[in-house]
Amino acid sequence: MICKHLSYCYEGESRLSLTDVNLHIESGQWTALIGASGSGKSTLCQLLNGYLPRSGGGVREGSLQVFGMDPAEAPLPEITMAAGVLFQDPDAQLVRGIVDDEVAFGPENMCVPPAELQRRITWALEVAGLAGLRSEPVRRLSGGQRQRTAMAAVLALQPRLFVFDDACASLDAAAQADFLQLCATLQGDGRTVVTASGRFDDAARAAGRVIVLDGGRVLLDGPPAELLRRCRGQLAELGLLPRPAGEAAAAVPPGPALVMVKSLDFTYPGGRRALEGAAFALRRGEWALLTGENGSGKTTLSRLLMGLLPAPKGAIWHQGRDIAGLPVHKIAGHFGYVFQQPEHMFTSQTVWEELIYGLHGGLPPARRPELTEDQRLRARQLLETAGLDARLEDSPYLLSRGERRLLGIISQLIVPKELYIMDEPTAGMDYRDIDRIISLCRDACRRGSALLMITHDPGILSPEASLHLHLEDGRLTSLPRQHACD
């Protein structure tokens, strides 16, 4: 892959997302592109197979050659066989509805004969750990399982260049390790591999070369060990390496349980058992982590707490009151919830409107009560901590993924609640944004709110948490803190 003076500007934007990028990647290499949120790594990934500007619009300048062809102009069959890209958002690339149909779709388009097609599907599903789910509808899968489905769909195409944009973001630890093994195998088979992420993670350490992007430009380029030796401080400053641990988690003040879960079982219509005998208690000011493999029932548990799924009687108690049968809007008076996909929550045209939406509950401007001075002050504090204070008039949809997540979080935190539930808020985030989330959550706990955070990043978040819950095949266990840190 050769790019010379490559620049790119998205449609409707004046700022360049990539500026004068010059790179040369040899065939058969494993290269890691890393950069903080908004650094341009996803843009570069999407240019490599011509998705940009061919489908996504925008203006590209400079030259880009992938195996000797320009992805924006090459015939579709050639570029499809040359470069396969796994995009950040799995939902954006699943088009057929059933797992094995998704995996078959690309090779079918490439006229792969049925016998070879079956072989590729079986192989790709095996590698992605989805062999047992091949007939499942995609909508019944967890976020991580959707990510694996999207990955299997790219693998089945068997292109010469694999581009994995934040492929590990929603994967559990075991799947992340499998992914590294997969990249090594693909490289061993002579394929070219490009991985992109917001952190100097294990994929970057395992790659032969690391390219660091910042503000759309190439900032650093070299072997991972050398970059870690030479530029550790700079990488930490960019949010690509964790900063030294700060203050430890504050002790939770003693008190009665705010939320009590007792012998919670849940089975989806159709018979899929998601939870079995889950039990735990949360106190005010407590920060709990909820971890577990993809599909282990984490999101199900959080949705039951929020009333988004019907909780069985006598299983979930809030301050001594059974919440079974309570409507969501009543539970929402006490509990806040941040979805895995923040876009699902957006209701407004600007960042500021989105932030204050919870304070007026969707009333038209003429009927809204004036914001109090305290509310304005709180809004400004939240925007500043989230690093969004300069984006007030921007559309929430035009923010980077990390910024959208932060906006989703502060839009909940602006309304005082007793418990905030967050579904994978740190997935795919760089360390700078994770620090921002930690800071926001610490503040919420200090104010007396409890926090239940689903995450695949226990290594980063455990020092902050006072309780670590772990789900395995629907069974909940409580881990001691030391174990969680390990």
Binding site: L76, A92, G97, D101, G106, M110, P114, R139, H344, S411
Partner: protein, 252 residues
């Protein structure tokens, strides 16, 4: 999700997509040509029997489907019943009147809507969109890009339904109170529909890009993984449905 394919082994699940599509067309023709409430009640009964015992659709699912279309059919029934003039007047309130003829016409139209909806729902419920595309391309020689348009619509319906459910949940979590009163309901539905439309547009754009990234449209033809088995009774059943349609039309 209501409007989507559910794998199964029922009679209609085993019927090949094109044979079943012909039967669906026959029902549509009968629904358009038949007249009178009684004949449409008979047609609806046939559709209900086919859904329940031909497709193994649960009563609950059927009820949810009928409830959905009843939101349109019921107001239409009332409006037609009191506004269409008739000779056998039962009741009169100023310019409005209820007559035997208007009730018959209102019943015919409303039952027609329900029959068409239920038969389509049964078709979607029992037909794998991928098999439909493959059959259209293989047997009808329809260009696969066009056939995929139909399949995409069938695939998108459950996705949009799911998207709507997620957005509805998100709005409740954001503090939207359930609507009360006509104005409140209209406002709530307005916001909901705009949110679903915006997300759907985004989704359609993303999907189009994703399909192209996977080589959709790269060649004039493509391969299909699934081979559809056409049961021996498909053709006789199609002939029976065609005969019923033509015969009943002649009779009507």
């Amino acid at each position: 999700m209501l409007i989507q394919y559910e794998p199964g082994t029922s009679l209609l699940h085993r019927w090949d997509p094109l044979g079943k599509l012909t039967a669906l067309m026959c029902i549509a023709v009968m629904a358009m040509l038949w007249e009178g409430t009684a004949s449409h009640a008979l047609l609806l009964l046939m559709c209900v029997l086919a859904a329940r015992w031909g497709a193994s659709m649960s009563w609950h699912r059927m009820y949810r489907g009928v409830k959905l279309i009843a939101a349109v059919a019921l107001p239409y029934f009332i409006l037609t019943a009191v506004t269409v003039p008739g000779e056998t007047v039962w009741m009169q309130w100023g310019p409005l009147q209820l007559s035997a003829e208007s009730v018959d016409q209102a019943g015919e139209m409303s039952l027609r809507m329900i029959s068409l909806f239920l038969s389509s729902l049964t078709y979607i419920f029992t037909t794998d969109p991928q098999e439909l595309v493959a059959e259209m391309v293989r047997r009808l020689r329809i260009p696969y890009r066009f056939a995929f348009g139909i399949s995409a619509a069938l695939t998108f319906l459950p996705l949009l339904e799911e998207e709507g459910a997620v957005i509805r949940s998100a709005q409740l979590v954001r503090g939207h109170l359930p609507p009360s009163g006509l104005k409140g309901r209209l406002s709530w539905w307005g916001k909901f529909i705009i949110a679903v439309l915006l997300n759907s547009l985004r989704r359609v754009q993303q999907t189009a890009g994703a399909m192209e990234s996977k080589g959709f449209g790269a060649y004039d033809h493509r391969t299909f993984r699934k081979e559809t088995i056409i049961p021996w009774w498909s053709l006789p059943l199609v002939i029976l449905m065609l005969g019923l349609t033509i015969g009943s039309n002649w009779y009507v």
